[in-house]
């Protein structure tokens, strides 16, 4: 699958052949860093001074690289498709190779970052448990009531963690285990295996 670059995008990336490959490499490093931690406009000004160009030109160049990397990573295009996609820019072979290396080295991480943008539910992190026997309470004496207290640790997509303290009785616990075992067994059925095998 090839990337289709807009005219504006091509124009922004058109700045890259005008600088050294070392500078392009540095722009690539800045682009990935910005994807990790967010942009920092001061970087554009510093680079623009050193290169004697407008800060806006540098900004467009870096943002063009960021968009090239995110789109390529999102679609998980192959090496060959990436090469063919950047051919239309008319860059030198050295520059094309540099961009390809930048993509291949960082696509996994960029996909992970993009994955965090996806709306998602809290996901399972850990489960702690404790077995108690309630012997008495303010309302009722002389009890023998086994209880399982659990602390379910969940993690949001932004990294925030939460913990829920829950309780259940042994009969319900057995039911929970049986249901979850059914859920796990379902993944091994012929139907699910066929889907997992054929949709890649």
């Amino acid at each position: 699958m090839l990337l289709v670059l807009s005219d504006e995008h091509k124009e922004h990336l058109g700045f890259l052949p005008e600088v050294d490959s070392a500078v392009v490499g540095e722009f690539g490093r800045i682009a990935v860093e910005f994807l990790r931690k967010g942009t920092n406009p001061k970087i554009y000004e510093g680079a623009a001074r050193k290169l004697s160009v407008d800060a806006e030109t540098v900004q467009h160049g870096v943002e063009g690289l960021m968009y090239l990397l995110t789109e390529s990573s999102k679609l998980m295009i192959s090496e060959v498709d990436f090469q063919d996609s950047v051919l239309v820019l008319g860059f030198t072979e050295e520059l094309n190779h540099l961009l390809q290396q930048l993509y291949l080295e960082n696509r996994k991480e960029i996909r992970h970052i993009l994955g965090e943008l996806t709306p998602s539910l809290p996901h399972y992190h850990n489960l702690e448990w404790r077995l108690d026997v309630q012997l008495a309470s303010r309302a009722l004496r002389q009890q023998v009531k086994p209880t399982v207290t659990m602390k379910l640790h969940l993690e949001e997509s932004g990294g925030d963690k939460s913990a829920k303290v829950l309780q259940t009785d042994p009969a319900t616990l057995m039911h929970l285990i049986q249901e979850l075992e059914k859920a796990l067994a379902e993944l091994k059925t012929t139907h699910c295996r066929r889907i997992l095998r054929n949709i890649k």
Binding site: S73, K74, L75, M76, R111, L114, G115, L117, T118, S120, L121, P122, H123, Y124, L127, E128, W129, L131, S137, R138, A139, L140, R141, Q142, Q143, V144, P146, V148, T149, M150, L152, L154, K164, V165, L166, Q167, T168, D169, P170, T172, L173, M174, H175, L176, I177, E179, L180, E181, K182, A183, L184, E186, L187, C192, I195, L196, I199, K200
Partner: protein
């Protein structure tokens, strides 16, 4: 069993034959037990023909005293000798004590049969739980964490999303139905997702909880 002065006075009135003859007393005791077992409060619980001649204030006082005594007995899992001693202290004669305890036994046995209580459960516990249902917010069983009642699950295969294509990963969506006893018994669902590996680990942890 320790009963407050007000409750003792109410029981003393109940023991007094000038207020409650034996027939009225027997009906009153049955009404007191039944009123605790009803699912909903019944304002007309004391509107019995046998109680017409009684002072309403006295009737309510005795009803409160009797129900408090019943609840205290159940809470303490009191045996016959404890209940009898307590009632004799407030002036119950042997006949009235026998009527009270017989009704107590009949009701608890009826509950044992009706609800098919497991042999490990204590009839008094179930009886008291029925009483708690009746009194609702006025009783507290103590603070406890939300209680898991049930679990639902969904297995899905993510093909792509708006930010990443070719995800191609299976995942589970688990919903725990949780009841919050501290909030009027309201229930809610707790949702979370997990991978197959995480679900296997969670299931292993839960298997470790089994006390037998």
């Amino acid at each position: 069993m320790e009963l407050s002065e007000s409750v003792q006075k109410g029981l003393q009135s109940l023991a007094d034959a000038t207020f409650f003859d034996m027939k009225t007393f027997s009906v009153f005791i049955e009404v007191a037990f039944r009123s605790l077992l009803s699912a909903h409060a019944d304002r007309s619980v004391l509107d019995q023909p046998e109680f017409k001649r009684l002072d309403q204030k006295l009737l309510k006082h005795c009803h409160t005293a009797a129900t408090t005594c019943i609840l205290e007995g159940v809470k303490q899992n009191a045996d016959k000798s404890t209940i009898s001693a307590c009632l004799e202290d407030v002036g119950f004669d042997a006949e009235r004590t026998e009527v009270f305890y017989t009704t107590y036994q009949v009701i608890t046995n009826l509950l044992c049969y009706s609800f098919k209580i497991h042999s490990r459960s204590q009839p008094q516990t179930v009886f008291f739980l029925i009483l708690i249902q009746y009194f609702g917010y006025r009783f507290s069983l103590g603070r406890c964490p939300p209680h898991i009642n049930d679990v639902s699950w969904r297995l899905e295969y993510c093909i792509k999303n708006g930010h990443v294509h070719k995800v191609n990963e299976p995942s589970y969506l688990i919903s725990l139905n949780v009841e919050n006893a501290n909030n009027g018994g309201s229930s809610e669902d707790l949702h979370f997702s997990c991978t197959m590996e995480q679900l296997q680990v969670a299931n292993m942890n839960l298997n470790g909880c089994i006390p037998f």
